[in-house]
């Protein structure tokens, strides 16, 4: 038997964070997904415990402010990609510099240094990820997807997809479908 499920990453992450933090009996507030504020300073033991607890879920504690900023850039981009209204309204660079209060070149440099990739590439990745999601889970046509994600044309979308993944959207779709049929989940 195969069950198809759909989940909300944000919700899952939040639930995990809360669960782990509550387990350790810490007083905290979740500022955003990427930021936890503690009432009291953590002791090194507490920190280690938390590190271990989060590690099981692939959650990392970012040590330096640079990493924090990179995470914020990623969050902002995620938000921008997922919100087609905002994406239409804002230019990425202005949006990022406005939200994060840093000049775009600065953000760009920090991002490239920390991630092996540029902000632009990351945006494309994010968008293609959204395209995949829409193809697989919502069964939308390319035309609809192109419209939703602010691609100028289906051809543009296809080209970008091919360039990023090396596959055409249809062969991608075929592969994922076959995987589901065979019950293979990497």
């Amino acid at each position: 038997m195969t069950l198809n499920i759909k989940f909300d990453y944000n919700f899952i992450c939040k639930a995990i964070l809360q669960e782990q933090l509550d387990n350790l009996g810490l007083e905290y507030t979740l500022q955003s997904l990427g930021e936890i504020k503690f009432k009291n300073k953590l002791t090194p033991t507490q920190r280690d415990q938390l590190c271990q607890a989060f590690g099981k879920y692939g959650i990392e504690i970012l040590d330096n402010p640079q990493n924090v900023l990179v995470q914020r850039i990623k969050d902002a981009i995620t938000e921008l990609v997922n919100d087609s209204d905002k994406a239409q309204k804002y230019n990425v660079s202005t949006y990022l510099s406005d939200t994060l209060n840093y000049s775009y070149p600065h953000l760009s440099t920090i991002f490239s240094e920390a991630t092996h990739s540029s902000i632009e590439n990351f945006i494309i990745l994010k968008k293609i990820d959204a395209v995949k999601h829409l193809i697989m889970d919502k069964n939308l046509t390319l035309t609809e997807i192109a419209h939703r994600l602010n691609y100028s044309s289906v051809a543009h979308l296809s080209a970008q997809f091919k360039k990023t993944t090396g596959l055409t959207p249809s062969s991608f779709q075929r592969i994922i479908k076959k995987r589901k049929e065979k019950g293979i989940t990497p």
Binding site: Y9, N64, Q66, N67, K74, T78, E113, A114, T115, H116, S117, F122, L125, K126, D129, K132, H133, M136, T164, T165, G166, L167, S171, F172, R174, I175, I176, K178, R179, K182, I184, T185, P186
Partner: protein, 148 residues
């Protein structure tokens, strides 16, 4: 640099290929630690050790003696603790059927062994970068497919 070292494994029976791959990895900017295996069995034996440091990405040649790439791939995808690893097929075959089949059986990346060193370098680098993104950003790894 804030980037940590990336663990990489390569299973290929061809010594030349292993050498060239190592050279290529050495020339790209990303900090890596490469483990080399000369066949699928070696690789699987290593991965299934309890204390193994698991690589973030495994490059698998398809055509290997003793245990070929496809068998390794299936074993990895059926193993609970290895399931999440990124598998990149590194093969001479450019048959569409082969490619599709490996993807269907859970490969994330398919790299045709290139004819030039430059192309090899480029391909490996792109694979590493993208994999890194998939591992560090909230991207859906289920859908991570890349053909180079």
């Amino acid at each position: 640099m804030a980037l940590s070292i990336m663990n990489i494994a390569l299973a290929d029976d061809d010594a030349d290929d292993r050498m060239l791959f190592e050279e290529a990895i050495g020339e790209i900017e990303i900090k890596t630690k490469l483990s080399l295996f000369s066949d699928g069995k070696q690789l699987m034996d290593y991965l299934t050790q309890p204390q193994a440091i698991l690589p973030e990405i495994i490059f698998l040649d398809l055509n290997m003696p003793i245990k070929n790439g496809m068998q390794c791939l299936r074993e990895i995808r059926q193993n609970e603790s290895l399931l999440h690893l990124c598998v990149a097929i590194y093969s001479t075959s450019s048959s569409e059927q082969d490619i599709e089949e490996t993807f269907v059986y859970g490969a994330n990346i398919y790299i045709n062994k290139p004819n030039s060193f430059g192309a090899l370098k480029k391909a490996v680098e792109k694979a590493l970068r993208l994999n890194w993104q998939y591992h560090t950003s909230a991207l859906n790894r289920d859908n991570f497919l890349l053909r180079l």
